[in-house]
Structures are given as C-alpha cells and as structure tokens.
C-alpha cells in the first residue's frame, strides 16, 4: 500500500503534483483538541517553496481546506481530511518525459510499475509536493505531542561539505529547539548559513543540485515506549522517514560511527541525576532494545541531490528504444534540504503519535 501509514493514527496521502489537488486523511486523532492554525500555517510555510534561491520559484497557495474532522478548529474524533488545491501548475514542461525518463527520478520505475498509466506531470504522486499534506498532518500531531511535553526539532546538519554543529545529545536546550522549529533555514550554528547557501547557489549556477543531511531530536518522551524486534522505535521512525522522497539513509545516535567504536566507548553508562536514571553519553540515540530510555531520541537522515537538473544528461527514449540526451526545463530546487527540515519533523510527529 503506497500512501497509507500508521496504526493508532493512520494517514492516507493522495494527490498528484499537477492534478486537481493533494491532501491527506488522518484517522485516529483524539477528539477535543483545539488546533492552533498560526502554528500550523507557520510549519507549512517553512516547507513551502519560493522563499529564496535555494528553492523552486513556483508559488504554492498551500493553505489547506479542512473538509471534515474539525468543528470550530477542534477535532471531532472523526477522520480529518484536508485538501490543498493545485494551482500555478505548468504541465507543458513535462511533455517529453513520458518517453525519456529523467535520471534519478521515478519516471522510469513508475512507467514500468504502472504500465505507463501513471501521471508523470510534475512527478505525479512521487512529487515532493506530496510532502505538504505530510507537514499538515504532522503539525497537528506535533501540537498534540507538545501538550504532553514532547518536543521535536530538526536542523540542517550538512549541505554539500558544509556542516552544522550537532545537537548536544545529552542536553538539548528548549530555546534552541524553539528557534530551530521556526526557522526556514534551521541551523544550530547560524554562521554556517552563508557557506551553505553558497554551495547551493554554486550548484544552481552550474545547472546542478546538491544533497545534505538533516538531524532531528525529540525530547520529553516517556521512558519505555517502543518494543523489541519489529516494535522498535528505530524501525517505526525509519518506516515513515523513508516515505519522504529523496531520503536514502537513516542512522540513530552515533549510527555508522559505531562501526569503529569499542563497546566500552559506545555503551552509555547509567547514572542517577536529580533522582532520575539518565545516561552520561547518548550514543544510542535515546533508544535501547528498541525502547526509549529517557534521553533525547536523535537520528540523522540523508537526502540525495534534487534529481531534476538543467544540465544535459544521458537517458533513453523508451519509445524509440535508443539512447538519447535530456535537458530538464522547469522550476526545481537546487537543494531541498532546508525545506525538508519541517517534513522530517512532521513525519517524526506522526510516528510518535503511534507510539505514545
């Protein structure tokens, strides 16, 4: 099932980039929760394109139309459906893609899976535009979690070879989390913005694109959430995060660095602090045996460079059955990492609503 996720709180995402509209049904929200629209729209604005040169200049009027599940901004407990109408689509740009799949895109694999019946315009259902309803759904979940004292915040860990500082894994400042969650270019060390933007701008000027890494942290989770084996928090979070287009990897805590560590280095020693059990380090990313241990849950996800680049590329012509060249026109983000920060946070919130 491609576009449905969750057990306790289930989302069903629909829509195609250049179709009539996109949206999401959220089934399983608690009744009686008053949604703060300002906070909601602020998150959607962080994801929205067209803010600056790192993003596609396409303007979206991403304000969702809530069809059901809310009365006077309070959840009714019934499934909540929100629609975002598609406007400002330029489908003419994509006419030759049916025959000539874009490298790095789903064009070819979707062509094979759907026998060419998929809506290829703008990437169809594979488009990054489908992350807008994810941010909508996730932002509501996030507000519910915040009421329980659970905070989620992410930042751009890396774009190209420019790296931000990591979270302090044993002590993450509430103010920092608040600041990051409102920024449209979320960085712990804001002095890195200029260098990162330069990397992106260089890529853009070279008709190219660039990838990156996002680090996400969750604080305030109760101890004891998750479970052994397939009930683990890592598996839960990864299964939704890989639903975000362009994500190709995820690691928890020290992640791949653990390969070079000794057990005596990677094990996080327990200690009592203010009468509570904590760990002195947090190499496990707040998860032991698949279960939360009271420390911040921390993970990193990598994002591949935007596959749509103007530079000429080699591809095939599926109709003429020969090799050919392709130059992609249209509006594309040279780097989607800054916009993806709120998407990662939103998906994390949806995941955690299924855990709490």
């Amino acid at each position: 099932m491609s576009s449905t996720w969750g057990e306790k709180v289930k989302i069903s995402v629909f829509g195609e980039s250049h179709g009539n509209g996109i949206g999401v049904v959220i089934d399983g929200l608690p009744a009686g929760f008053k949604v703060d629209n300002d906070k909601l729209f602020a998150q959607m604005a962080r994801r929205a394109p067209g803010k600056d040169k790192t993003a596609t200049p396409r303007k979206e009027s991403d304000l969702p139309n809530v069809l059901s599940g809310m009365l006077n901004n309070i959840t009714t407990g019934a499934p909540l459906c929100a629609i975002i109408n598609n406007t400002n689509t330029k489908s003419g740009d994509y006419s030759n893609l049916l025959a000539c799949p874009r490298p790095g895109h789903s064009d070819y694999t979707a062509y094979e899976k759907y026998n060419s019946f998929n809506d290829i315009r703008g990437g169809g259902h594979f488009s990054g535009r489908l992350t807008a309803p994810l941010v909508f759904a996730g932002s509501i979940c996030r507000q519910i979690l915040e009421e329980k004292g659970i905070k989620i915040s992410a930042h751009i860990s890396q774009i190209g070879n420019v790296k931000d500082d990591p979270f302090n894994p044993v002590n993450i400042d509430n103010d920092l989390m608040g600041r990051l969650s409102q920024s449209s270019f979320s960085l712990i060390d804001t002095s890195k913005e200029e260098a990162m933007r330069e990397v992106v701008e260089n890529a853009r000027l070279n008709q190219d694109s660039v990838g990156g890494i996002i680090e996400c942290a969750v604080t305030g989770l109760p101890t004891g959430l998750g479970g052994p084996m397939f009930g683990g928090v890592e598996g839960l979070i990864s299964s939704i995060i890989f639903g975000i287009p362009a994500i190709k990897g995820i690691e928890f805590g020290k992640g791949f660095k653990l390969a070079e560590m000794l057990g005596s280095e990677s094990n996080d020693p327990f200690e009592y602090k203010d009468g509570k059990v904590v760990t002195k380090t947090n190499n496990c990313g707040g998860i032991l045996g698949g279960i939360t241990n009271s420390m911040p849950v921390i993970f990193r996800a990598c994002i591949k460079p935007t596959p749509s680049i103007s530079k000429e590329q080699d591809t095939v012509d599926l109709q003429k059955k020969c090799n050919t060249k392709l130059s992609i026109n249209g509006r594309h983000d040279p780097c989607i990492v800054p916009r993806a920060v709120s998407v990662i946070e939103a998906c994390t919130a949806i995941a955690l609503m299924n855990l709490v």
Copy 2:
C-alpha cells in the same frame, strides 16, 4: 506489536534466551515448495555461535523442529511453525542484572516497559539468540526467491577500522554471491580477514567488543516492485532490518555520501544495454521513487559493538537507587558482525517475499 512482521508473508517470532524454547510462525508461504534442508541448515550454521574466537563459546543445538506447515519437507500452505529448544543455558550468570542494568542493553528500558516482569535472563526476548528463527524463516524465503532468479548476498563491509571492498554496484558476480553466502566470515577481499580478526581479538583481550558494517546486495529482482511514499522498498527493508538487535543505521546506494554529491554526480544515467534499460552507475542502490529499477538493490547496515563486555562499567542500582559499578560475566561475542551477515540476508529475503 513487537515481534510480528509482514503482510503477504507474515512472521511471528517468539521465545526468550533462557526460556523453554524459541521459534517462529511463518504465515503465507506458498504451498508445494520443497525445502532443501542442507541449504537451510547451512545458513543456520553460519549464524550459530561458538565457531571461533569472534563468537561466544556457547554451543547451541540450533536445529529446528518443524511442527506444522510442512509434509515430507514440502510446504502445505498452512502456517509453518519451527521450534528451537533452549539447551546449555547458564542463567546463574545474570542474577544481579535485575537491579543493575547493563549499559548498552535493553535491561533498563525493558524493566521500565514491562514493570520489571520481563525475563532478563540472557537478554530474554531481546537476545540476539532470537535471530536464529529469523534465519530459519529467511532461509526458506530465500530458497523460494532463488527459484525466481533472485539472489541475496551480504558481506562484512567493515569491522573497527578495517574495510572490505564494496560490491561493484552495476555488476555483481553470481559466483561471488554464491561464495559469500556460504562463508562464515564473508568477505569480498578475503585478505582482510586476518586484520579484521585481529581487531576482534584485541577487543576480546581487552575485555571489550567492536562494531561493524554489513553490505547486502540483491540481484534478479523484477523492475517495478515497491511503490511511492510508504510503499517504498527502502522503508520495507529498513522496517525489518531495524528489527535485528544492535542495528543502528541503514543506507541505500551511496547513502550518506549523497550529502556531498552533486545531482550530476548522483543521478544514474539510463542506457540501453542488450536491449534492456539499465543505469551506468548505481548510486541509488537499485531503487528510484521507492521502486526497483532492474539494477542490484544494495544497502549497508551498521551494527553497534556488543554491549556485553567484561570491562567494569558505570551503572545504577535500581533497587538501592544509587550509582554503582558492573562487571559482566558470562559468554559473549566480542563482535557479532560475522554472524549477523546471514541474519541480514535472511531478513532481506523475508522482506522481499512481501514484495514479489
């Protein structure tokens, strides 16, 4: 749900390290498949402990007893249940762990989740021993996939700072895959074995342990498997791989290296080769838009150092509510990476049975 996974082919794993037995129910296998027991036991032997100094000296008689779902070694289509009895358990070793959780282990989080009622002996249901039924289930799935021309093979990519060569992502040799799948220390460049074993032996002599990385490849998959968003192959594979104890990260294709690549570098150009669409590179790990693209599916998973080490560690006493020291006795692998290779392969096979 902690220990159940899958939709088309569903596994339900049960058992505790020092309980009466462990096992698995596999629901959804096709009827009429003749299982090759030699191949099956060979895979279980690769995972079994006690083969050399990298592993715990505990001997398991891991031969499973099939209770149902097979008649004369041929699947009946009914749920297949296999039991492995626990023998040679030394539970006395674990008496003090109830109060003093081992750093890096599930002891503390399980204590919190289960209100101290979990069976902590040998790690209980969190034990790496629970991977034996996974290998059993996966090896049957793998034999079924092999009949369809799908091959799965993994190798030790890294232990400590010693690295094996990677798979050639565009052309993986059948003979190599066959050789790796039979080895108990699977390496592409076998000359690395000595250095890796030295890393492990040094850790062992220092009462310590070490982590690593496993790389896994799948060839022969039809084009068009998987789907957009949450139906993607990456999400499917990751959700079962994170079910293996000690896995803390997964990346597909170039993975985290994509952060520093340009789109023009990371995009895999299409071309016709022998009348078939292929890609010249395989940075995406055989998956575009969540869907297989005919190239090998390749991923890497990192494994943390075995948390059980003899070296004295800081921990807490949950009964006396104070800080304390802990030295873990008992038999433990200084490095579980070599044994985990067949587990990764098995879980990949189970995942793919749900896709094909």
Copy 3:
C-alpha cells in the same frame, strides 16, 4: 481505526453529514483501468435519497469530484480521492440532540467516546450519508471485477413481513443480476413491490420506520479464494458489511437455518457438470473452509429500522441528568433498505478486490 478498511485495496472514508464534504481515498487500485462514469453515476443514483416516499426528501448532488488517481478517466495507480460536497444541509434541526440522545442512534455512545466533541449534526460521521463514498469506491471496484467475469447483485429480501423470492443458489441468471443491479427497488419477484411500499408508507404515516433484509450474490469467482480461519471469505465480507450503519446481522448460505438441519441435508454433494466440479445444492453459500468453491457466494444482511422517527420517544437529558421525551424533526427515510441494496453490493465489491 474507524474508517479505513482493506489490505490490497484500502479505502479511507471521511466526512460528516453536515460538514464541508465527504469522500473517500482508494489506495491500491490497478493502473490503466478506464472507469465508465455512466455506470458509476447509475450506482450512486440508486443510493441517492429523495427518489420517492420510502426515502428522505433531502436532495443530494452526489456527483463526486475526483481529485487524484485518474487522468482522462483512467486510473493512474496512485491513490484515488473523490469528494462529494455537502449542500442542502439543515443543521438547525439537530440543536437539541447534544443534550438528548436519540434512541437507536449513535448520539449517546459518540458523546461518551468523543467527550461530546463529535459533530452531531445530521449524525456526523455516523450518518448513512457516508455510504455515498462507499458506493463510489465500490462501483469502481465492481467495474474492475466485471472485467474478470465476476458479477455482484443484491435485492430486497424482506421489508417488514413482506418477502421477496430468494436467489436460486445453484444457478443465478445473468439477466436477472443485470436487472437487479439497475433497479432502484431491486426485487426478484417484482410483484412484491406494492406490498413492500405499503409497509413503508404505513410506517411513515405512523411517524415510524421499518427494517428489512438484503440478499446478495456473487457469481464468477474463481475457486480457491480465501483461506482457513481468519482468512475466510465470510470474515472478510462481514468485516466490511458491518461497517455499513444499521446492519446488525449477516448469514452465509442457509445461515441460521443450518441450526435445524442435519448434516445429510446441509452438506452440498459434489458432482461433475460439463467437466467442472460443482455442488448439487448450495447451502454453504459458495464457501467451504473459508474458501470459494466455484458456486455463487450468497449472503443475507439484516438492517434495523431507521432509528430517526417523528414519534415521541423516551430518552434522557445528559445536561440536566433527568429522563425526558424527544420528538425528532427533520427529513428521514422511513425505510433505508431499498437504498442500501447498492451499498451492500458496493461493499462486497471492495471486499472482493482484496481477495482476487
């Protein structure tokens, strides 16, 4: 999860009777199927209210707006979302129901479940109006099944004490099925219409309502669909049929009559007919061991009388915490059975899409 159903083809229904709109997301439809809109709208018209005195005079413009998943009336394989806007709602009628729950309705239980935050207007998400998207989704599934030679058809088996003839369980005429599927008052013996309408009209004139039974048959199913235990066809069909408001029972084949039969009567003897294995009788309703046996699948579902009646009834005042009387105004069907025929057919189609 209240409003999501299915595995292979999953529907997610949303909306509230007097909210902004209702609709459905269908995830998992095959790509490349051309939907026949005339057939689709004909089914929705059968369910629509206001056709005659058996139904509420409220007019719905039930034509759905397809937001996604179709391009030029052909399915793309992506989730299909269809919206029906709510118009002609008279919410003023329901103002006193928040305090005084209507007997036989969900008002009280929803009040308890959702802490009074549910949208009670017109029944909210519990309204029979939510069956419109079910008919939409089911009609598409039905068209796909018809292409495979599978026909679904139902009729009014009983209203009050007036009974239609049953299907001939071993031989159901294609023409009959075609005729029933187009009728807005589906009867095998059309001479019963007058008596049935009289029962309904009498109830209406007495400010009352009446229940009934619908019988549904499916022909053309391949042998061997379904499975033992929880994979059985009976469980699959019942789990979606009970999702239709007002359904309180379901029986397959001879159903409750089997209690008084002997094994020698109820067992359906096998025989070869035209080289094919059939049964001489069909007391099992085409299902043995949960699996289709090549004979028509036949079941009956009972529908309680419309709970909304104008007659004064005893109820409670939840705010004043006392007993009180209630007279329900507003437009209500004195009998929903005729309209429910297409809903039963539609849900059966959705169920079978998950089986074929």
Copy 4:
C-alpha cells in the same frame, strides 16, 4: 493471511490436525499478569472431545506446553507461545480423501487453493482441533478482562429444533454467567439438556449430525468502546468469530428479527437508573453506532451440522474425474455445538482485548 488476527493483542495460530503439534503465539499481552492455570485448563477441558456421546471419542491430551512469554506463570510481556502436541491420531482413516473430497468440508477448496499440497489428514489446518489453541489464548485474555470487571458467557441457544431460553438482555445475572462458564453443556434452562441430547443421539444413530446456535453475552464493558464504520464492535467480533470453523452467521441484539420490527419497537429508550444512563430494552445488543452503550453486548452465532457423517454421500473423484460415493469412517462429533461454547467465549475475549 489465514491464521493471524488482531492488532493490539495479536494471535498467530498454527498446526495441522495430524501433524506434530498445534499451538498459538500471542503477541501484545500485558506484562505482570499471573495466569490461573486451573481456570485455564477448565476452559480447555470444556472444549476437549471425548466427554460424552455428543463428541468424538478421540482423547486429546490438550494440556499446552508454554515455551515463552511466561515466567513462574506470570506474563513477561514477550510473545507467549503455547504448543499442544498431537497424539492419538489415526491418519489411516483419511487416505481416500485426497481424491474424493468430503461434502461440506474444506477438502475440495483446499485442494484447489493449495494445488493438492495441503495436509488433508484430519482436516489439516482446517480442523476443529485448531480451536484448542484459540481457547488457550482466549482464556488468558478472559482472565485479564475479568480483572477489569468484564465477564463473558455463552450458552447453547439451540440444537436442532430444541431451544434454550435467551439471556435477559437488560439484566444478566453474575451467578448465571459463572455457572454457564463452567458447564460442559451450557444451558440457561437446564431442563432442555435431555431433549437436546436426544436430538444429537438420534442424529448419531442415523449416521448423521446436527447444527445449532450459540448465544454469547458480555457484561461490564465500559461505555464508548468501538467506533463508527469499520471500527465497530460488530465488525470486530464477527471477523474473529467467522474464523471458527463451521460458523455461518452472526447477529447482534435482535438481529434478523429487526427486519420485521418498527423503529418505535426496536429503538431502545434511554433512561437514568441509579444515576447511570441505561436503556429500557436492549434490541441493539449493547452496541450503537458500532460503540458500546453500557448495556450487555449480546450476539448469536449459528453453527452448521458437522460435515463428517458416516452416511453415504455423493461426491466426485478428482483423479478419475467422475462422480462417486463416499462413506466417511473415523471419529466425529455428531454435534459440535456444546464444545463450541467455550470457543465462542474465547474468541470474544480475544476480540475484546483488542478493544479495551
């Protein structure tokens, strides 16, 4: 998926009648619950065969062997697996069934579904023997529910044309429930036992069998469980009850009788009683809008006559492709209804564990 059921508490049933063993894995039980073995075995004894002439004289040693998930009879929170070994099987009796399917049995449909690879001996995985692990699992669930004040009790409502009294739907006596739950021939009006046994004995003497109906009641459920549409209590219960072999129908409250009732008769008026909202009647079976309303949940399920009868029957020879006659030898219950009472109760308990 044939043999797996549940979300919060998931059961996975395995085994074949004449295989090595049968059993169940229960995933999701709370940790720390002390199981009362006497109560558990008492329920298994109620289901066990061989008690009198209504049942097959085959003796089962149905005492289960718990492999995991319990320590000192207390649940650990890990999956609980219980095995019942098969003994006293006489497989010789079934040798000709591969070619000549028994009318009313799964032989033919399983043959088609599994391409003849199913284990047909004793009915294989379709055997009523598979209800033993259901009773095991359900009895544990039931003990957990009882601690929360929830009682489940069923009785033989009808065998042949002999009927027991129904439950008083608005007031079910605790003592009655207790008595029924311990009886091996559960009747409200115990004076009916003789007449029922006579019906069964007559069937047996005629080499025949007979069906029946079981009525089940649940008291003590909190108000507000369940949900609209597919989240309804009726759908939940029916989906597991139809997993019991031989069940062909289910109805809640007045069920099929509602077809002949008026709304003014079927609606259950609300009233305050002892400060609590109750209904004066209980025609809805304690469920409104799919949600519990504080009254007893009541349903009835019908059971077809045992298909295995000694009387000669018409069938086909699938190998010779011709019509033939069949006389079934072996040990079979002339009526399974008395034994099925505890199975219905057990499955209801499993269902409710997923709701509470």
